[in-house]
């Protein structure tokens, strides 16, 4: 049973987070944003005035191009994501429940399952910026909700880890690495571009699927399959480290994060193994 004051606070928190994650920042939001020092201080300003064009362009970059905000993208092995579970809408609905004194337990429980990879992805896509701080506030609010409800947090049940047989082609690897529920992390366009850039292998433009395919094709063309796979492995290792840090910052959600951490490390190892198999002597 959550007390009325906490529900009021949660309703205000979710009531801000939902719309801002959905559509960016508007002047109406500023009063609430200023309640959190770090958020207010990271809003971009021009001559002292908040630059709404700048912050909303960043919103588009982060949520339009890099990080999916759908539950299905993380928890569905088929990557079937409907708009209905976009995180902004989920949070707005949770705010509505809290406002009328109702604890949205089911919505909260589902959100906890994928909050770790979502928040870590946002942090990675927008380090040291407003939306990175917003992801921190989101995690802290969901954690506060857990503590107030005193509900145990379960480990997130993920799909089977990937295995590649001799007959499996590039498509199987691409599918595995693009599915968070299988590989344990959301590889963003930025992740892929950085891996390509580090190894001087072209990734081209387009969807994640296209750029990852380009990256692996290009790696084969330039005899760099092993080094590209190792660089991808390093990336999964780094994401696992981020999960660890995130779990330490939000201990009440650590159990949910643990399965994501383990899977990301497992993927890193599998990629290392694969790199050894394809290395050119």
């Amino acid at each position: 049973m959550i007390d009325e004051r906490t529900l009021d606070g949660l309703s205000r928190g979710y009531g801000l987070l939902g719309p801002v994650l959905t559509r960016g920042v508007r002047p109406d939001d500023v009063e609430s944003l200023e309640a959190i020092d770090l958020l207010a201080s990271t809003l971009p300003r021009t001559n002292g005035d908040i630059d709404y064009d700048e912050i909303n362009a960043e919103h588009h970059r982060v949520f339009g191009l890099e990080v999916f905000a759908q539950r299905g993208a993380y928890l569905d092995v088929e990557l079937v994501a409907s708009d209905a579970d976009a995180i902004g809408n989920v949070l707005s609905r949770m705010a509505a429940h809290c406002t009328v004194g109702d604890d949205p337990a089911d919505l909260h429980a589902t959100l906890v399952e994928w909050i770790a990879p979502f928040c870590v992805s946002v942090r990675r896509a927008a380090p040291s910026s407003f939306f990175g701080e917003l992801a921190n506030l989101l995690a802290a609010t969901v954690e506060a909700h857990s503590l107030a409800a005193d509900r145990p947090v379960r480990r997130t049940a993920l799909a089977e880890a990937f295995t590649l047989g001799d007959d499996d082609g590039l498509g199987a690897l691409v599918n595995a690495l693009l599915t968070p529920m299988v590989c344990g992390a959301l590889l963003t366009r930025r992740d892929l571009a950085e891996v390509g850039s580090k190894q001087s292998v072209p990734t081209g433009f387009g969807s994640r699927r296209q750029t990852l395919k380009n990256l692996l094709d290009g790696a084969a063309d330039f005899d760099k399959s092993d080094t590209v796979l190792r660089t991808l492995a390093e990336r999964f290792g780094a994401i696992a480290d981020d999960y660890d840090r995130w779990a330490q910052a939000h201990p009440a959600l650590a159990e949910s994060a643990a399965s994501w951490t383990a899977r990301a490390r497992d993927t890193a190892q599998r990629l290392e193994d694969l790199a050894s198999r394809v290395a050119v002597p």
């Binding site: 949660l10 009531g15 609430s32 503590l147």
Partner: protein
């Protein structure tokens, strides 16, 4: 922590929770807004068939009168905006692509421009320059009212006057001049953007006064094509070609760039091979199957080596050559003792071109022999489907550049690819120019300032030498109109222009008709604001493919207002400020020049419908559409429209969907012999009788390898390429385009960079024949060693911080002059500045390039009259400690000396004319005077 977080959250506003939505909701359970006028039904879009499937859907024509879109700026609110879509024609290059202006039905603001899907040339597509028209019409620095100089010339002091004052004062000056003489009024056009409207006006004034930019653009290529067949440009059918041969960067910047580029790619997708000659790794070169980075001036060696391959291996189309080429005249001139049979001509060809081996071509061009052979084999296997083009590039770069197009078209002739499907036609076969309203008779005057006797073959006016002629005392000008033209900036040797534009004895009255401020307008007596693409009426057609079309440029706000029932008498009532258009201006000015009809001018501008009154633009174009465009009245009638209403609705009309080998029906070509003239009797009889001038041959360029001694520090400066998003001087008024490209570093090969000890970003001083400039270096393997390249169109400048060219796109400069010595130094680069447009405060770039053209000596080709743009860099060195970025120095005494050196190469009609005339009558002139005027 938890408590403190809840405390913080409690300081936030309470969320506004909407009552449960009723009716239709979105997936988040929120009620959807309802808008009365916005249709939620799917709209059937016009589908344009493109082979590659891109950009194929457009608003259907039947919805153009009321098209609804959400207002992007109101996002995330869904605010519907109602637009009336008005077709018009882009004005930002010569291609004349179709645009659709989205005009808000409430405010008549122009929201955006997209492609016109029914335009046969561009087929709904545009390059970046088309949509950027929006930048130009909302440019905060644009000239909105007619201005008259009140200080000294060049002082920058102007006052606003009314259009009536401008018309009266300028009309009076024209009247005075016309009464005294027939060569005192000169119209000098940069971007024509119309077909023959103004020419008709000049003819009506009874003067020889048409001047153009052609001799700094296409004169070389025109001359070569004209000598072959009477037409002066090629019109390749790229989409159906098997081999495409380009001597220029057509995919990004060629003539008719967008319509051509899409068809080149179509051809490639169907299997055509693309061959490109360019010393620079252009976008086109990078897309080519065979890239031949030839040393400038050696292109003819490569082309003739390909010709030799076809001739020596009997791969050429003998039946075509026998039927259409003047081989009998050739034999008579070059092998008079041979029997008059085609077999003898075949032997002559084999003998003539035997010296042009692949080895020689490889040596001259410094291109691997295998690549030249590969190109020749591709041409040899293409049958009569060789689409070839040269524009600007080598033909306008080199002394003798006209032979580049002559040699290139030789390949079309040898393969029989002349006007065939997949071949190369003459421009005039595919460009449709209707007869005008009331055609005045030709004049009987010849202006020596336009086409002096030294250049009887010039294509066309010797425009870039105007200040040199004035300096020599060859004449003066009473009223000088510059129209979308910035001669001091765009021409070589700009300080010579500065001298003339300042000199009120040489140019007594300068009227700058321009949509934007420019360097030359600063020195004008009147500055008259003229409209951009969406603010004017014009007719245009271009030879974009094997077909014919005509397009109607319209002032979109005026049309939108008229559709809404608001009558507009003159276009400036609908345009921003009092920006006008030439079409109406010329009519009114001509009437003011001759108010009582005494000069015989007014009659050509009087209405046929309302005798005694001045014609309106509607009546003018209505007349043409009804009487001079075959098929248009019938097409209009089928829709229940008058022809003018049809053109206002669609903005274009397809006259012929396909047009192949029209010379068969016409009975030959536009030469005196009606044949394709391999051997040119005209050249021979006008003093150019050597073989190198009469048949396709090589000529020694002023920058061939033997003239550039790299060991001495000399290099070749290639300044005649442009970046794809630039529009000569008007890109400085298009913020989107300038954000994309705004600087012009010196391209330099790494080998040269090492030799000179410079790296990317370092300053170098480039010395030309008449001065020097200082620019940064860009080290790249995209340019051949020994050559430096630098894009034109950049390095804009202004003399006052608060006036002239935009602060965000130009350098503030100091101009120092000491006798014949001129110096330009940058005080500061581009800056952000505050206007009603917030984007002007977001200008993040400072470097807007270096004005190199000031330091170019004039190089008039003695035959074509083209300015040969390639420059001999006398030295390229690491900049001195006293040199600053953008420094320019020129000595105009040297300018005149170099001019005289080139003048000495000419062969004057006075000495060589075979019939006492100034120019072969059969060659084109934009405005041909009477035969009598041709007499010396």
């Amino acid at each position: 922590m938890t408590d403190s977080l809840i405390d913080k959250l409690l300081r936030m506003k309470k969320p506004r929770i909407a009552a449960p939505a009723t009716g239709q909701t979105n997936v988040g359970g929120q009620a959807l807004p309802t808008y009365g006028k916005a249709s939620t039904q799917p709209t059937k879009l016009t589908v344009v068939q493109h082979p590659d499937g891109r950009m194929s859907s457009y608003p259907p024509v039947e919805r153009w009168d009321d098209w609804v879109e959400w207002d992007a700026k109101a996002w995330p609110r869904r605010v519907p905006r109602h637009y009336t879509l008005v077709p018009t024609v882009c004005f930002n290059c010569e291609s004349a692509c179709g645009l659709l202006g989205y005009v808000d039905k409430t405010s008549f603001e122009v929201r955006k421009f997209e492609g016109n899907p029914v335009h046969p040339g561009s087929r709904g597509r545009n390059c970046a320059k088309g949509p950027a028209t929006h930048n130009q019409i909302y440019d905060p620095e644009r000239i909105l009212y007619p201005l008259k100089r009140v200080g000294k010339r060049g002082e920058g002091k102007f006052k606003r006057i009314s259009w009536e004052e401008a018309l009266t004062e300028i009309g009076e000056k024209m009247r005075e001049s016309r009464k005294k003489r027939r060569d005192g009024i000169m119209y000098h056009v940069g971007r024509p953007g119309e077909d023959h409207y103004t020419n008709r006006c000049i003819q009506a004034w009874g003067v020889d006064g048409h001047n153009s930019h052609t001799n700094i653009c296409s004169a070389g290529a025109r001359t070569g094509y004209a000598l072959w067949g009477g037409f002066d440009r090629p019109s390749p059918d790229y989409a159906h070609a098997r081999a495409i041969l380009l001597i220029s960067s057509h995919l990004e910047t060629g003539h008719y760039f967008n319509p051509h580029a899409q068809r080149i790619i179509e051809g490639k997708e169907k299997g055509a091979k693309l061959i490109t000659l360019d010393p620079r790794l252009s976008n086109t070169a990078s897309k080519s199957d065979v890239w031949l980075p030839t040393w400038p001036g050696s292109e003819t060696y490569v082309l003739l080596a390909i010709a030799r391959h076809l001739i020596a291996n009997d791969l050429y189309d003998k039946a075509f050559v026998k039927q259409w080429v003047n081989w009998e005249d050739t034999l008579a001139a070059l092998a008079p003792d041979e029997e008059k049979t085609f077999e003898a001509f075949d032997r002559l060809l084999k003998k003539l071109y035997d010296e042009f081996t692949f080895e020689r071509a490889a040596e001259e061009s410094q291109v691997p022999i295998e690549r030249i052979r590969e190109a020749a084999e591709i041409i040899g296997e293409a049958g009569n489907r060789v689409a070839a083009h040269t524009w600007r590039s080598a033909s306008i770069g080199n002394l003798g550049g006209w032979q580049v197009s002559r040699c290139l078209f030789f390949l079309n002739v040898l393969t029989g690819s002349v006007g065939t499907k997949g071949g190369t036609a003459g421009n005039s076969w595919n460009k449709f120019v209707p007869a005008p309203y009331k055609k005045p008779p030709p004049g009987d005057t010849w202006s020596e300032l336009l086409l002096p006797v030294e250049w009887p073959f010039a294509h066309f006016e010797m425009s870039f030498l105007l200040p040199h002629f004035l300096e020599e005392g060859r004449g003066d000008i009473d009223v000088y109109f510059t129209r979308v033209y910035n001669p001091m900036w765009i021409n070589p040797d700009g300080f010579m222009w500065l001298k003339s534009l300042r000199n009120e004895e040489q140019i007594k009255c300068h009227v700058a008709m321009t949509p934007t401020w420019n360097e030359s307008a600063w020195f004008a007596d009147y500055v008259l604001p003229m409209g951009h693409a969406s603010e004017r009426h014009d007719l245009m057609s271009q030879e974009t493919h094997a077909g014919q079309w005509i397009a109607f440029r319209q002032p979109v706000r005026r049309v939108a207002m008229e559709r809404a029932g608001q009558p507009v008498e003159f276009t400036y009532e609908a345009n921003p400020g009092e920006v006008w258009e030439e079409a109406e201006f010329w009519i009114q000015l001509s009437a003011h020049m001759d108010p009582d009809g005494e000069l015989g001018v007014r009659q050509w501008f009087e209405s046929e419908k309302n005798p005694g009154e001045i014609v309106t633009v509607d009546e003018y174009f209505e007349h043409i559409f009804e009487k001079s465009v075959p098929g248009l009245p019938e097409a209009a009638k089928a829709e229940g429209l008058e022809p003018l209403a049809y053109m206002k609705k669609y903005g274009c009309f397809e006259v012929k969907a396909e047009n192949y080998t029209p010379y068969v029906e016409a009975g030959g070509f536009g030469t005196p012999s009606k044949k394709l003239e391999f051997y040119s009797p005209t050249m021979a009889s006008w003093g150019w009788s050597e073989q190198a001038y009469t048949v396709p041959w090589v000529l020694d360029s002023h920058v061939s390898r033997k003239h550039i001694d790299v060991g001495k520090g000399e290099m070749l400066l290639l300044p005649n390429f442009r970046l794809p998003t630039l529009i000569h001087t008007r890109s400085a008024n298009a913020k989107w385009l300038y954000e994309i490209s705004h600087k012009n570093p010196v391209w330099m090969h790494p080998e040269d960079g090492r030799r000179l000890g410079v790296d990317t970003g370092d300053l170098v001083r480039v010395e030309t024949e008449i001065g020097y400039f200082v620019d940064r270096v860009w080290i790249t393997e995209g340019i051949k060693p020994g050559i430096i390249a630098m894009s034109h169109h950049l390095g804009r400048w202004r003399l006052e911080d608060s006036a002239g060219v935009n602060p965000g796109t130009s350098n503030l400069v100091a101009l120092k002059e000491d006798g014949t010595k001129h110096e330009l130094n940058i005080l500061k680069g581009a800056t952000a500045y505050k206007t009603f447009d917030p984007d002007t405060e977001r200008v993040w770039w400072e470097d807007v390039g270096v004005h190199q053209n000031l330091t170019h000596a004039v190089h008039p080709d003695p035959v074509s009259g083209a300015h040969c743009w390639l420059q001999k860099a006398m030295s390229v060195t690491k900049a001195k400690s006293t040199d600053n970025y953008g420094d320019v120095f020129v000595d105009t005494e040297r300018s005149m000396a170099v001019y005289r050196e080139w003048l000495a190469m000419t062969r004057s009609a006075k000495d060589h004319s075979p019939d006492g005339t100034r120019r072969p009558m059969w060659l084109k002139r934009p405005l041909k005077p009477t035969k009598k005027a041709y007499e010396l």
